[in-house]
Amino acid sequence: MTKELERAGLPVAHITNLTKIAEGIGSKRILRGNSVVHVLGNPSLTRDMEVDYRETMLIKALELLADKPDDETSSVIYE
């Protein structure tokens, strides 16, 4: 999906825990999620804190989107 979106000219930030798979299928901007079962969540936090946490994650994803990876051949992965 990433590749087809990017082929259409849409930059994609891929948020997932399975960063290796994401890299393998050709995602270039990858952000590691918290867990496979709550990619953008953290159930150990209070609800308010969790939204803050999520916001921080999205800011990282936006940073990935704003940058252009230097190397066309490899992916940038925020662990």
């Binding site: 087809e4 979106l5 259409a8 849409l10 930059p11 399975l18 079962v37 709550h38 969540g41 999205l58």
Partner: protein
């Protein structure tokens, strides 16, 4: 080396029978080079002779690809070829399909070197690039001379039994022919042998060829993030309560978009998950953990994101073949482009 026997496959157009008007024609064989076989034969004169040109109408073969390629195979086998060449087919869809299918079949069943040449977007490329050599061409037959030369060079190397490297270096699509595995040797021994060869820096052939992904230029955002229209896409299967579109939880071939209008966050009571591939309890508890609308809205408010697309896209990415994933991706991409989206967050479970 003795001169090798070459069989060449082309369609009705290159065979000189006509265009679409004759695309239904069945199989014809000429025991001479025809069309692109002329220059191809000349370039390969030192290696072998084109002993037969097999010609078939594009519709005839494309409408019954398995059956007709089996027929073609029987005919090709009769000429006892040492080398097989199809096309080049450039971006011609039905012709490319035929070129890929017959080249793969010749390679796998007759176990002789075989090659064709197609454009990357040709449907034949995606289907057969990991079963035979498909050299890269551009989408236009104006390049015929250049491509025929490249095919001749490659075919000569195949005929001479030369080592062929990986697709990127050798200018073919995908992984090329599937590796031949000798099952009379136990897997454990084959594995250890490969490892020893690797340690000794000797050549070895992997049995598990990873799909080679074509490189796409990495797109960039042409404006500040604070002005972009952002879309959220997930393969985690989040759907509205009741699953109104009956989205399947596994092997999905569909995607849907659902409205986010007026929502500052996703309420657990409004959503469910149709996805068989992960424990979705945490997402059911708080759907924002998958489709982060609460945080995204805040960032919009703070001016960090321009706007959020007022719907999210969803599918269930479980057991989805690559080809279906691509189709889903293409569909979503089309809709997002139309909506003027600048960038995408893809959340994958």
């Amino acid at each position: 080396m003795d001169k090798c026997r070459i069989v060449h496959y082309i369609n009705q157009f290159y065979g000189g029978y006509g265009g679409e008007d004759t695309a239904d024609m069945g199989i014809e064989v000429k025991e001479t080079p025809v069309g692109p076989g002329g220059p191809l034969g000349k370039l390969l004169a030192d290696t072998g002779d084109i002993v037969a040109t097999v010609i078939c109408g594009d519709n005839h073969v494309a409408e019954n690809i398995e059956g007709v390629t089996d027929e073609l195979l029987t005919i090709i086998e009769r000429y006892k070829p040492d080398l097989f060449i199809a096309g080049p087919g450039f971006n011609a869809g039905r012709y490319g399909l035929a070129c890929g299918a017959i080249t793969a079949k010749v390679c796998e069943r007759l176990k002789i070197p075989a090659v064709t040449a197609l454009y990357v977007e040709n449907p034949g490329t995606e289907l057969y690039q990991n079963r035979c050599y498909i050299l890269k061409t551009n989408d236009n037959a104006r390049e015929m001379k250049k491509v025929v030369e490249a095919v001749a060079v490659f075919a000569r190397r195949l005929a001479n039994g030369e080592e062929i490297g990986k697709g990127d270096a050798e200018n073919y699509h995908g992984a090329g022919p599937a590796p031949v595995i000798d099952y009379t040797t136990p897997a454990a021994k084959r594995g250890i042998d490969m490892l020893l060869s690797k340690l000794r820096k000797e050549p070895f052939k992997t049995e598990v060829v990873m799909p080679a992904h074509e490189a796409i230029p990495i797109p960039t955002i042409q404006k500040p993030i604070s002005e972009v229209l952002l879309a959220i896409v997930t393969d985690g299967g989040l759907v509205p309560k009741g699953n109104p579109d009956k989205m399947v939880p596994v092997n999905s071939t569909m995607y849907k978009s659902y409205s986010l209008e007026g929502k500052n966050n996703l309420e657990a009571s409004d959503y469910e998950v149709s996805h068989q591939g992960y424990n979705n309890a945490f997402v059911l508890q708080d759907p924002n953990r998958l489709v982060p609308i609460d945080a995204a809205r805040r960032l919009v408010e703070k001016g960090k994101i321009g706007k959020l697309l007022d719907r999210y896209y969803t599918t269930a990415g479980v057991m989805t073949p690559m080809s279906v994933g691509k189709e889903i991706g293409r569909g979503i991409a089309g809709e997002l482009k139309e909506a003027g989206v600048d960038a995408v967050l893809l959340v994958s479970t």
